[in-house]
Amino acid sequence: MAAIITKGLTKQYKDVTAVDQLDLTIEDGELFALLGVNGAGKTTTIKMLTCLCGPTGGDALVKGYSIMTQAQDVKKMIGVSPQETAVAPNLTVRENLELMAGIYGCDKDRVTELIEQFDLNAIAGKRAGKLSGGWQRRLSIAMALVSEPGVLFLDEPTLGLDVIARSELWDHIRALKGHITIILTTHYMEEAESLSDRIGIMKNGRLLRVGTAEEMKAAAGTDKFEEAFIKLVKEGR
C-alpha cells in the first residue's frame, strides 16, 4: 500500500511556481529522500504534505487522507521534525515529550518508552534549551514519534551537527526503517545514499528523477553518488 500519493501537486506563489505538477508515490515503510539544490521545492513539498500550507493545484493522499479536504485526519497520521530544532526550550526533555503525548492523547508510558529508545534518560530532567544541538535533534525526532505516526517527515535532521552526533542520529533513523514511512530532506549526499531506499531529485519545482542511489549512479555513469547528483541536476535529465 502507498503511504503517500501526490497527483499534480502544485504550489504557485504569485509569479513563482515552487512545486510544479508533482506526481509521486511513496510506499509504506519506505525511507524516501528528497534531494535538490536550494529553491528546488523540497521544503514547499514537505509543507504541503504536512498541511502547513495548501496546494494551489492537485492533491496528495497521506495514508489515504486528502491534504485538501481531510487535513485534521492527515495531521493525526504524521510526525514532523522540522528543519530548525523545534523544541520548547523552557520545558525539560520529559515535559517536551509529555506535551506531544498530551496533544495526541497518548499514554505517558509512550514517553518513558521513547526516553529509553533514544537514550534520553540522563537528560530527561534537563531543560531542552540547555542541550547541545545533537541532543536537541534527537529529542526533536523523539517528539515527532510520540504519536506513533504512520509517516515521519525529517527536514534536514542532521544539519549543523558534528560527525559523531550525525552518526548517532543515523543509527536512530536506521532503527526506524521498515517500521514507519520516512520522508527525509537533506543536503548531505552521503546521508541520502546511506539511509534511503529510494531518492527523488527535485529541480525548479519539478521531480527530475526517482530511483535508488545505484540507479542514479548508473544513469549518470559514475560510481560516486555526489557526482551523479551534480550531473543529473546540471543536465536536468
Binding site: 504536512t50 502547513l52 500550507c53 523544541v87 506535551l99
Partner: protein, 242 residues
C-alpha cells in the same frame, strides 16, 4: 484535553520567567503607590483610593495585553509552533491555551493591587471579593486584545503597539486619571464606545456594593472580550496557513 495540555505548557513557560511575572504583579502596585503619594501632597481630591483602586486594577491588566501579545508573537516566530501547526491542535485550542493560564495571573495581580490599597486606607468590605472576581471578564478582554495583536504583529512590533499605544489608550480612555465628564464631547463619546471606561465603572460599582450598577458595563466588557477572542482565532487560523 489537547487545549489543556497546551495551556499547561504555556503556564510552565510563563512561570519559568519569574521576572516578568513579578513585574506584572508589581506593575499596578507601583502606579497605586505613586498616585497615592501625589494625592497626599495636593489640596484637591483627585486620586481618592476608593475610586482610584478599581481603575488601577483595570489599568494593570494592560500589562497582560503586552504579556499575552509577546507570548504569542514570540511563539509564532519559533520553530516549535511550526511543529505544533502540524498536530491536530486547532486555532481555538491555541487561543484558549494562551488565555487560561493568564487569567489566574490577572486575578493575582488584582489581589496584590487591592491588598496594597487596603494598606493605603481602602475600607475592607465583602465587596472586595466581588471586585476581584469581576476582574475575570475584564482580564479576558485584555488578554484577547493581546492575543489578537500578537497574532497580527511580530514580537518586535507588539512591544510598541501594546506597550505604548494600547497602554496609553487604556489609561486615557478609562476615566481612571480624570472624570471623563470634565472633558465631555467626542472624547467621552469615543471612551463610551470602548470597553476601558466600562471595565472601570463596573469595578467601581462592585466595590461600592452597587450590583445593579454593573450593567450595562458588563455587557460591553463581555462583548468586546468575546469578539476579540473570536477575531484572534480567525486571524491566528489565517496566519497558521501562511
Amino acid at each position: 484535553m489537547r487545549m489543556l495540555t497546551f495551556a499547561g505548557r504555556t503556564s510552565k513557560e510563563i512561570l519559568r520567567d519569574p521576572l516578568t511575572v513579578a513585574f506584572g504583579l508589581g506593575f499596578p502596585l507601583v502606579v497605586l503607590l505613586l498616585l497615592s503619594a501625589i494625592q497626599g501632597n495636593i489640596p484637591v481630591s483627585l486620586f481618592e483610593i476608593q475610586s482610584l483602586t478599581p481603575g488601577i486594577a483595570v489599568f494593570g491588566l494592560s500589562f497582560m495585553t503586552l504579556f499575552s501579545a509577546q507570548l504569542i508573537a514570540k511563539d509564532r516566530s519559533s520553530s516549535l509552533i511550526q511543529r505544533l501547526y502540524t498536530t491536530p491542535l486547532t486555532a481555538g485550542d491555541y487561543i484558549l491555551g494562551y488565555t487560561l493560564p493568564l487569567v489566574p495571573i490577572s486575578v493575582l495581580q488584582s489581589v496584590v493591587c487591592y491588598l496594597a490599597a487596603i494598606l493605603l486606607g481602602l475600607e475592607v468590605t465583602v465587596h472586595l471579593m466581588g471586585a476581584m472576581i469581576m476582574i475575570i471578564p475584564v482580564s479576558v478582554f485584555y488578554i484577547a486584545l493581546g492575543l489578537l495583536c500578537g497574532s497580527l504583529f511580530n514580537d518586535k512590533q507588539v512591544g510598541g503597539i501594546c506597550g505604548a499605544l494600547l497602554t496609553n489608550l487604556s489609561a486615557w480612555l478609562s476615566g481612571t486619571w480624570f472624570d471623563l465628564n470634565l472633558v465631555g464631547g467626542a472624547f467621552k463619546k469615543i471612551a463610551s464606545l470602548l470597553p476601558f471606561m466600562h471595565a472601570v465603572e463596573m469595578e467601581r460599582a462592585v466595590l461600592m456594593g452597587d450590583w445593579s450598577g454593573v450593567f450595562p458595563h458588563l455587557w460591553w466588557v463581555l462583548g468586546y472580550g468575546f469578539a476579540l477572542s473570536l477575531l484572534a482565532v480567525i486571524v491566528f487560523t489565517k496566519k497558521m496557513k501562511k
